[in-house]
């Protein structure tokens, strides 16, 4: 029990550190790689919270598919020559202040939630069987609608990224 607690805090600290490195690192490729690291840490948290299926899905879909897509686009665009221009220090100071203010506001709202106690009984929450049952009975309509969402996203991405002869002529 003690080691699990310790593991939780170590993993939490590493998650925050790698998330900070995402927004602090100068080079975009490094930023993407730190984000992949953050997603692996979050999957570790899912395993500690007994959500094995979501941990695997998070690694496969987020770290495996979406981040590789980001990396692919980043290499395709080849932004090396003019590194990322920074906004001035004034704006970054303001952004840190406003982020801290948001943190304090939400913390004060969630103050009551901080004393929640874990329900004692054991359960099969988070196993594939339980999630599959729920997904194909109670949530079957959103599940089918998400396939239409994917179809429209696919068509939209093709339409947007296509090289158009007519518009390229006058550019």
């Amino acid at each position: 029990m003690m080691t699990i607690e310790l593991l939780k805090y170590i993993l939490g600290g590493m998650t925050i550190a790698s998330a900070l490195l995402v927004i602090l690192s100068k080079h975009p490729v490094r930023s993407v790689l730190y984000l992949v690291l953050t997603f692996f840490m979050i999957s570790g948290h899912y395993i500690l919270l007994n959500a094995q299926f979501l941990a695997i899905v998070n690694i496969i879909v987020y770290a495996g598919a979406i981040m590789v897509l980001f990396l692919f686009v980043l290499m395709l665009l080849n932004l090396n020559e003019k590194e990322n221009p920074r906004k001035n220090d004034y704006i970054s100071l303001i952004s840190v202040l406003s982020g801290g203010a948001l943190f304090l506001v939400i913390l004060s709202v969630l103050k009551e939630g901080l004393h929640l106690q874990e329900l004692p009984q054991m359960s099969s929450v988070g196993l594939v069987e339980e999630l599959g049952n729920l997904l194909f009975t109670k949530y079957v309509l959103p599940f089918e609608i998400s396939s239409i969402l994917f179809l429209s996203a696919m068509v939209g991405a093709l339409l947007l990224a296509r090289k158009d002869k007519k518009t390229n002529e006058h550019l």
Binding site: F39, H45, F70, L77, V96, L110, E118, L119, V125, L160
Partner: protein, 97 residues
């Protein structure tokens, strides 16, 4: 509970700070993904503490929507880069409605 509430709150605020500070459009999209993941972590921790499976289904749908959003956002970025040779977000100042 305490720990995961504060951890996901910190991750969300890091995402917002990055969203305000950075100028590269791809990094802005990554900050949005980071914020979505903070929300996912909070939902999973609620699911573990109340012993309910429904929040995990919501996390599943958030992942689905995030995948669709990333494809559309990246194709918009490619289009903007093709027209302007830059992925600076202030390029959208030129838009006339």
């Amino acid at each position: 509970m305490n720990f995961y509430l504060i951890l996901s709150l910190i991750l969300f605020c890091i995402g917002i700070v990055g969203l305000i500070t950075r100028k590269n459009m791809i990094i802005l999209l990554m900050c949005i993904e980071l914020m979505l993941n903070a929300v996912n972590l909070l939902l999973v921790s609620f699911s573990a503490f109340y012993k309910q499976s429904d929040p995990q289904i919501f996390v599943f749908f958030i992942i689905v929507v995030a995948a669709a959003e990333a494809t559309i956002g990246l194709s918009i970025i490619i289009m903007a880069f093709r027209n302007n040779k830059s992925t600076d977000i202030s390029l959208f100042n030129q838009l006339k409605g």
